[in-house]
């Protein structure tokens, strides 16, 4: 679905933000891209929708080369939820806000109406239908931006740091939403430096450092590699540290962290 072939991106000021990135994401996969601030995660996702064009290398979305396609066209397939909702809300009412993208993409009026209602319902924002989007709380604004994206039903959904500023309840709801998206066959990419919240989802994890991909694999495998995560300045989920510490004890009944986890969570004594 998404393919980056040896993509390098150099800023105007000479800084190399991406260095030989090769990555393939299949349809229906849920992928987490992790790494410290400045590792290149946001730069990478901007390439997927053509906001940035690679200095060298190719980016393909569903077979289409992003070099020759406009962001507006690519966005029909790839919806990106940026970190700051205040960078996009502008309409008179929440329903107008949701209709904005739909109209840009050429949805006929009756379909617009339908999808707006559906989206509002799904995210529990029906009561704000006629309100100004600017008076919503931070968490509600984030839900609104996500609702706007799902309204046009893109095949790929990318979330850029969705947990920044969210409390525990909101994060839990977010995990549920990501699971739901995955179960409906969408390709989901979550960019985050928050490892803890990602752990229950067990996605494929891609670790970035200084513009390169330093690791790529299933969550249980990647999250246990302590030294690699340390050098990429990514914090290990607490539970993983705990399981690993358990597994390392002499005389421990566990062979590895995964067994330890199964023991604890399975309740087998």
């Amino acid at each position: 679905m998404i393919e980056l072939r040896d993509v390098t991106f150099v800023h105007e000021n000479g800084v190399k933000a991406l260095d030989g990135i090769t990555l393939k994401v299949d349809t229906g996969e849920t992928v987490a891209i992790v790494g410290e601030n400045g590792a290149g995660k946001t730069t990478l996702i901007k390439h997927v929708t053509g906001l940035l064009k690679p200095t060298s290398g190719t980016v393909l979305v569903d077979g289409i080369d992003t070099h020759t396609t406009s962001t507006a066209t690519l966005s029909r397939k790839v919806g990106v939820a940026f970190q700051n909702p205040d960078h996009q809300l502008f309409s008179e009412s929440v329903k107008e806000e949701m209709a904005f993208a739909l109209r840009n993409f050429g949805f006929p009026p009756h379909l617009v109406e339908q999808r707006v209602s559906w989206g509002l319902q799904l995210f529990g924002l029906e009561e704000y239908r006629e309100s100004s989007p600017l008076v919503l709380s931070g968490g509600e604004k984030k839900r609104l931006t996500l609702a706007c994206i799902l309204a046009w039903d893109p095949e790929v959904v990318i979330l850029d740091e969705p947990t920044v500023g969210q409390d525990a309840i909101q994060k839990e709801k977010l995990v549920g939403t990501i699971r739901m998206l995955g179960s409906t066959g969408k390709t989901v990419v979550v960019v985050s430096h928050d490892i803890e919240f990602l752990w229950p989802i067990q996605p494929r994890v891609v670790v970035m450092k200084s513009g390169r991909i330093v690791a790529d694999g299933p969550a249980p495998e990647i999250m246990t590699k302590k030294e690699m995560l340390e050098s990429a300045r990514v914090a290990q989920p607490q539970l993983v540290s705990f399981y690993q510490a358990l597994a390392r004890r002499p005389g421990s009944p566990f062979v590895d962290a995964l067994e330890a986890r199964r023991w604890i969570e399975g309740g087998q004594r």
């Binding site: 410290e36 601030n37 400045g38 709380s137 931070g138 968490g139 920044v164 500023g165 969210q166 409390d167 525990a168 309840i169 909101q170 994060k171 430096h193 928050d194 490892i195 803890e196 300045r233 990514v234 914090a235 989920p237 607490q238 539970l239 540290s241 705990f242 510490a245 358990l246 390392r248 004890r249 002499p250 005389g251 421990s252 009944p253 023991w263 604890i264 309740g267 004594r269």
Partner: protein
């Protein structure tokens, strides 16, 4: 007495609102403490913070009852000018509290406003910059800095005023975990070296648990939990209030049900593992 902050039955309602943002809140904090203020979004934390440094009632008016005293002086009757020298406030977005074009000038901002003479100002600015380790940034422009660096600059500006109490409003929200950890260590060091009290509003409790002396949980404007990190996190109610109970704590609570948890409530993964080693096998 030595109490740096005394909040007594404080209630506050914004002019247009129907409910109170803060409801009969009472809290005492002594010197050299790190207190975490937690609670779900919208519980009134931001409002409470502003009653401590005086923005409420000096900048924002409303229905105000009860009293807030900082170092013995009532906030209501003390001017912002005096309050600014006792209470420092580090706002959530570092960008919107850096005014000057050069880092060094911004650290001096508060002192310039107070009319502090140049030699004294120079001393305090150098001191604050040194405490935060940002000497190499002192001549840079703010837009050249990363978020973590901007935050240090803003904190230096606050420290230059030599406050006894510093409020940090969600300081780690824009930072990645490693940088966040560095900030927490910095706060702990400042507490130790300067004896400053810190009130930190934070969602990410797992980062602060090791250094906090106390956790206070708010919900719908009222104080609902108040105690040491162990008491609060291992208590029954923590989950209910949308508090991010760290994973290690949850594991122990789970094990406690089967009588397998260690007697000491542990906050760290490694300690927990080493204690369980004996029990699990």
């Amino acid at each position: 007495m030595g109490k740096i902050l005394e909040i007594e039955e404080l209630s506050f309602r914004y002019p247009e609102a129907t409910r109170k943002a803060v409801d009969s809140f009472t809290l005492d904090i002594g010197e050299s403490q790190i207190v975490v203020l937690a609670g779900p979004s919208g519980c009134g934390k931001s409002t409470l913070l502003r009653t401590i440094n005086g923005l409420i009632p000096h900048m924002y008016t409303g229905d105000y009852s009860g009293d807030v005293r900082v170092a013995g002086s009532s906030v209501r009757t003390t001017s912002m000018r005096d309050l600014a020298q006792t209470v420092g406030f580090l706002f959530q977005n570092p960008e919107n509290q850096i005014f000057m074009f050069t880092v060094e000038r911004d650290v001096a901002f508060g002192l310039e406003n107070l009319g502090v003479p140049r030699p004294e100002m120079r001393k305090r600015v150098d001191e604050a910059i040194g405490l935060l380790g940002i000497e190499n940034l002192s001549q840079r422009a703010p837009h050249e800095l990363s978020d973590g660096q901007k935050q240090r600059v803003a904190l230096a500006g606050v420290l230059a005023m030599r406050p006894k109490l510093i409020i940090l409003d969600e300081p780690t929200s824009l930072l990645d975990p490693k940088t966040a950890m560095e900030l927490v260590d910095l706060v702990a060091r400042l507490r130790k070296e300067l004896g400053t009290t810190f009130v930190v509003v934070e969602h990410r409790l797992d980062l602060l648990v090791r250094v906090a002396d106390r956790i206070v949980v708010m919900n719908a404007g009222a104080k609902v939990l108040d105690g040491t990190p162990r008491d609060v996190l291992f208590g029954e109610d923590a989950d209910g209030y949308g508090v991010s109970v760290p994973a290690v704590t949850r594991v122990q609570k789970m094990l406690a049900k089967d009588g397998l948890a260690p007697d000491d409530r542990l906050l760290g993964a490694a300690e927990l593992a080493s204690v369980l080693e004996g029990k699990g096998a």
